[in-house]
């Protein structure tokens, strides 16, 4: 391993600009002549707009334009789209209601976009928003998804008269029923996966700019996938054809899924820029982020698991209601279906699985992918089920899991996925050792002596990453292919630019991608620049989400590097006057086998560009290669997390005493960065389990719309984490990478809840397990203990 190659904990190249305040986030960019946009948002969850009077705002100081849904319609601007078609059990397509960027006659959630004011200053735009008068006819809202389809419920979209988007299923119902018929024990559980608000620290922002001389648009935006944004804005919303629309996603301050989607605000800014003839800038404030960023999770599930008399799992059946909010966001439809149900086999050999999912409209913000997207929901179901089943059957939860682990690979589950490789027992062994599981009983007794309740909880998670083989996702309803592209440009002096369709918003691609190049070409990482986030520079790409940038994005780079080396060998052969077959490339030097004649990589690059040695031959000058990489399978990172915690029954305060995470991510490029990803994921997972929860009141007001009301994990809520690694390289991509970005957020919630229920000695506590909820449960436990 070289100092900067694969496997080295290289310090990040991008950090200098961030620690010196020189990062360039969207709100840091200002365009000459720029104007400012402020949105009027609906204060009501469900209402018809009877009258919209913008005259007062139009006359206000500094106002340049006040635009509404009527203006969008007049200009033929299309609505926002959902790019993944789901079909119901009966074969009918999902019921997608219209989603205009500015309301057209009706508002459907608090925060929905009614109108936009564009003014000289932000203060003027905000002042003028208050001068718009709207006459709303209030409609009864649908807030509780459990009752969304009740007869007599208000109708949110005419296309879905019962508020049902789809009624979908996966798996073999007959085989599953047969498995339950021969079961000796059945575990049943009602499970709620609480609604979360992503809260990347950088609020979303957009600047639309229009160049009338060339009839071309530029959009600066906080996006995880600028090319997808351009595609949707061009092909579906109809702002401009792709060659007339440049989308730039500069430094982006965290995404976690919430910046995948194409939202109303950027659509309006880029459209309005042409209308007002000046750049239009919008930066969301935190309350707007709470109200109108796509939320995550929000499932209600009933699950049943069948076991034989020894505790072998025979079958699993799951029925889930998924809240999709008021409109279908960009990828919302696939999250509770194809990103959820295929993961319900977990790490276990389960012969039969049947899953039913109902997608529902409610008068709440749209719900879409949030770190893990479907996979945390699946893991929460299966890992709660096995924990409860083990306890009900009087078995050790680690031993129960181990008994049911898949032990031979490849393994075809009954729900689509074919796991290529893994060693779940190895991760369990290491986790038990690191967590000192054998002495847990003593620690529990010591806690009890202090009047504290100690619990331990496991989570043996799996996820499907490296999203995804294009043909596979196409057959499941995706409107796009999920390959990735790369271009490697070698300059005449031997420095290298890599253009990638992946997008870094904290993941450290500028470092890890450069490590791959360094490793392969034998040059330092300082000789490598990673270019991303600009549709005028990078031809096309699908962006970053689903832990795909290593497994898919870097595989594309690897393919392009193969081509670069192959061509450079031809150049070297001419330059060294040898046959191509005799050229060897090692540690950055091309040499003629069995001789001392060699050229450094940079010298060969120069030869490629001056072309003196092969002019007129069948070899083109230059050294630049591109590649598209389409994965052949998902990748399957897995691991075991163990949470040990202590509850103070007098206050309900839960303190995490010890966190052990053992993960198998396949091959790792930079262990320092991978550990950082694990830390952040665990923190979000603990946040979901203990602290975070979006709450709408019965009228549809979001009562958790600021950091005073929505409890974000802070430094003093969390422990330090013990991280361990096991490795089974992925067999389906050239680098053996599985992906690490979402693991922690997937693994953590069931580990926490399993530990709390272990401490309390009874089952099922809702997330977030706040001190109040834990205190109530602890009192019940104490009463029960006293009675015994």
């Amino acid at each position: 391993m070289s100092a900067t190659g694969i496997g080295a904990p290289v310090r990040r190249k991008e950090d200098f600009r961030f620690i010196t305040g020189k990062g360039q986030y969207t709100d840091d960019i200002n365009r000459p002549g720029q104007t400012h946009a402020a949105f009027l948002r609906s204060p009501h969850a469900h209402a018809n707009i009877k009258k919209l009077d913008i005259s007062g705002a139009q006359k206000a100081e500094g106002v340049i334009a006040v635009l509404t849904g009527d203006d969008l319609a007049k200009d033929g601007v299309g609505g926002l789209i959902c790019g993944w078609m789901i079909h119901s059990k009966d074969g009918s397509p999902m019921k997608a209601g219209g989603h205009p960027a500015l309301a057209q006659g009706k508002v459907r959630y608090v925060g929905d976009h009614v109108a936009v004011v564009i003014a000289e200053t932000l203060a003027q735009a905000r002042d003028a928003v208050e001068k718009i008068h709207v006459d709303y006819e209030l409609l009864k809202p649908v807030i509780d998804m459990a009752h969304a389809t009740d007869s007599g419920s208000p109708v949110i979209h005419d296309v879905a008269p019962d508020n049902q988007v789809y009624d979908w299923h996966l798996g073999d119902k007959g085989a599953t029923e047969a498995a339950f018929a021969k079961a000796k024990h059945v575990t049943k559980l009602d499970i709620v996966n609480n609604r979360l608000i992503p809260n990347a620290m950088e609020p979303r922002a957009a600047i639309g700019d229009y160049d009338s001389g060339n009839d071309a648009f530029t959009l600066y935006t906080t996006s995880q996938n600028p090319h997808v944004a351009r595609l949707v804005l061009s092909a579906f919303i109809g702002i401009a054809p792709e060659h007339k629309l440049r989308v730039i996603a500069p430094d982006v301050g965290g995404g976690f899924g919430s910046k995948i989607f194409i939202y109303a605000e950027e659509t309006v800014c880029v459209w309005a820029a042409k209308k007002v003839g000046r750049p239009v800038k919008w930066t969301g404030d935190r309350t707007e982020a709470f109200l109108a960023d796509a939320h995550g999770r929000d499932h209600i599930t009933h699950a049943e698991m069948a076991m034989d008399d020894k505790g072998h799992i025979l079958g699993l059946r799951v029925k889930t209601k998924a809240n999709l909010g008021a409109y279908l966001s960009t990828f919302s439809s696939c999250v509770p279906t194809y990103l959820y149900a295929p993961l319900l086999s977990g790490q276990y050999n389960i012969p039969a699985i049947y899953v039913e999912v109902e997608g529902l409209y409610t008068n709440t913000a749209p719900v879409d992918a949030y770190r893990g997207a479907g996979r945390p929901e699946a893991t929460f179901v299966i890992e709660r089920m096995v924990e409860v089943a083990a306890r009900e059957m009087g078995q050790d939860p680690a031993a129960f899991r181990r008994k049911n682990f898949i032990k031979s690979f490849p393994h075809q589950t009954p729900v689509i996925m074919a796991y290529d490789t893994g060693d779940y027992g190895a991760s369990m062994d290491l986790a038990l050792e690191m967590a000192d599981y054998k002495n847990f009983g003593k620690r529990k007794r010591d806690s009890a002596k202090k009047g504290m309740l100690r619990g331990i909880g496991f989570s043996a998670y799996i996820e499907a990453c490296g999203i995804a083989p294009s043909a596979a996702v196409g057959s499941l309803g995706a409107g796009v292919g999920l390959w990735e592209s790369a271009e490697v440009r070698v300059n005449p002096v031997g420095t290298v630019e890599v253009l990638t369709g992946s997008h870094s918003h904290g993941q450290g691609h500028e470092t890890t991608f450069a490590q791959l190049v360094s490793d392969r070409l034998g040059i330092g990482i300082d000789q490598v620049a990673i270019v991303h986030g600009d549709t005028d520079k990078v031809q096309f790409g699908m962006g970053t989400y689903g832990s795909r940038s290593g497994a898919v994005g870097m595989s594309a780079i690897s393919k392009a590097l193969d081509k670069v080396v192959a061509k450079a060998k031809k150049v070297a052969a001419y330059a060294l006057e040898a046959s191509e077959g005799d050229i060897e490339f090692k540690d950055g030097r091309f040499s003629v086998a069995g001789t001392d004649r060699s050229l450094a990589f940079g010298e060969v690059a120069l030869q490629a560009y001056i072309a003196h040695k092969f002019s007129g031959q069948d070899l083109e000058p230059g050294l630049k290669e591109g590649a598209f990489y389409d994965p052949t399978n998902f990748t399957f990172p897995s691991g075991v997390h163990i949470c040990e915690l202590e509850i103070d029954p007098d206050t309900g305060v839960t303190t995490i005493e010890r966190w052990t995470a053992v993960d198998d991510f396949g091959n790792i490029i930079n262990p320092m960065i991978v550990e950082g990803q694990v830390h952040g994921g665990i923190a979000q997972g603990i946040g979901q389990a203990l602290l975070e929860g979006a709450h709408y009141d019965a009228n549809g007001q979001l009562v958790t719309a600021s950091y005073m009301d929505y409890c974000m994990p802070r430094a003093d809520d969390l422990p330090s984490f013990d991280i361990g690694i096991t490795t089974t390289p992925c067999t389906t991509n050239p680098l053996g990478i599985k992906g690490c970005g979402e693991a922690g957020a997937i693994a953590a919630p069931p580990a926490v809840i399993n530990a709390i229920t272990d401490a309390l000695g009874h089952e099922n506590i809702a997330m977030p397990a706040s001190p109040q909820a834990v205190w109530r449960a602890a009192q019940k436990s104490l009463h029960k203990l006293a009675a015994e």
Binding site: R11, R12, D15, Q24, Y25, E202, R714, S720, F721
Partner: protein, 158 residues
């Protein structure tokens, strides 16, 4: 419009501003010092922390006018002659940042913690003192390590 004058990162600045201008707006929009960020506008997240007369404050809820006559230091004012402040170096060395958005506020708060609590900081103290700075990426694990290392390094650089 009112006049304000202050020293920012060692340079005297003065301007006529709308009285409602916040310090963070003055820094970002008038002085183009965009390293100071706005993450929440309710004094909760700490992305906007700067030092005013040597003390950490949240510039998103401070009027620029109230800082008339003060000396302000922002993230851009920490490195001198290309040499990073030890706390900046500690964040880089310990992977104390991912997306970088909360980082300027974290570093400014961390220096303030050291100024108030000394150079030998235990984990519990660091976690409690970081209560006013939210990070969504790192899980704080490496930020805590960075602050401890930076605190030690600041002792050595005195």
């Amino acid at each position: 419009m009112i006049s304000v004058s202050m020293t920012v990162n060692g340079k005297a600045v003065s301007a006529k501003i709308d009285p409602r201008t916040l310090l963070v707006q003055f820094l970002r929009e008038n002085l183009l010092l965009t390293g100071t960020h706005v993450g929440c506008d309710t004094s909760q997240c700490g992305a906007c922390v700067v030092h005013v007369d040597g003390k950490a404050i949240k510039s998103c809820t401070t009027l620029a006018a109230s800082c008339d006559g003060t000396s302000v230091v922002t993230i851009e004012g920490l490195a001198h002659d290309g040499v990073l402040h030890p706390m900046q170096e500690a964040f880089r060395e310990n992977h104390g940042l991912q997306c970088g958005f909360c980082t300027p506020g974290m570093i400014m708060s961390a220096i303030d913690i050291v100024n108030r609590k000394g150079h030998d900081l235990d984990e519990h103290t660091i976690r409690e003192e970081l209560e006013g700075n939210i990070c969504r990426c790192t899980g704080y694990h490496n930020i805590v390590k960075s602050v401890a290392a930076g605190a030690h390094a600041m002792a050595g650089s005195k």
